[in-house]
Symmetry: C2
Subunit: 140 residues, 2 copies
Amino acid sequence: MSENCNACIRFIGYVIENDGNKAKIAIFNEYLEGLRRITDFSHLIILYWFHMRDNKKDRSTILVHPRGDPSKPLVGVFASRSPCRPNPVGLCVCRLLDIRGDCIIVEGLDAFVDSPIIDIKPYIPRIDSVPSAKIPDWLK
Amino acid sequence: MSENCNACIRFIGYVIENDGNKAKIAIFNEYLEGLRRITDFSHLIILYWFHMRDNKKDRSTILVHPRGDPSKPLVGVFASRSPCRPNPVGLCVCRLLDIRGDCIIVEGLDAFVDSPIIDIKPYIPRIDSVPSAKIPDWLK
């Protein structure tokens, strides 16, 4: 790894289709067994890599206007879901629709085709769901 | 980066205290401005690095017994929150308690002291909360 890296990510698959509703993720053969029993869950947390933002400028971004709207207050990247951030990791909670061969079909993945996948976790409402969590007016 | 790495993670801070309830995260100076307006949110998604599991054996783990209990079925790592996984990224939804100097105080962070932090995202119930998500009996 370069002297500027602290840790190493290996991609486990890629988004190969996404019509804005359903998305198809291909998982590399060596990781396919990792999907065993995943259909026991209705929802997944998908972690992916914002590969279009993996460059020095975007990874140095610290302040952003929410949704790129300059009428909104300038906020820190850690108060934002912006793809421009020090580690360009994207996170989506998705409904699991199907497993077909080496592919996972999900609903609600906000990732471009060709985005690399770095992890998949089962969604567990007891620890992951906080319906009452407060968000600011500028995000509404 | 080594030829086996696809992408590079840079740590943004570390867990410096954790009593099992409250945890204190120190953020490196160069990223501190990224916390601006974060207290407008009540909850955060903390992504951290399972640094104790960043080794060849643990990163090659593909099947696990949930909670290490051999009476439970062998499941894929992507159907598990096990720290042994191809990319040892941990994820916790935490309540934000306070910002003190260069530290964030949170409740509910299931990470050891010295765990590196890789990202912090605001928790947005509209996209992150699925109270009705289904989990299998073997996880209950």
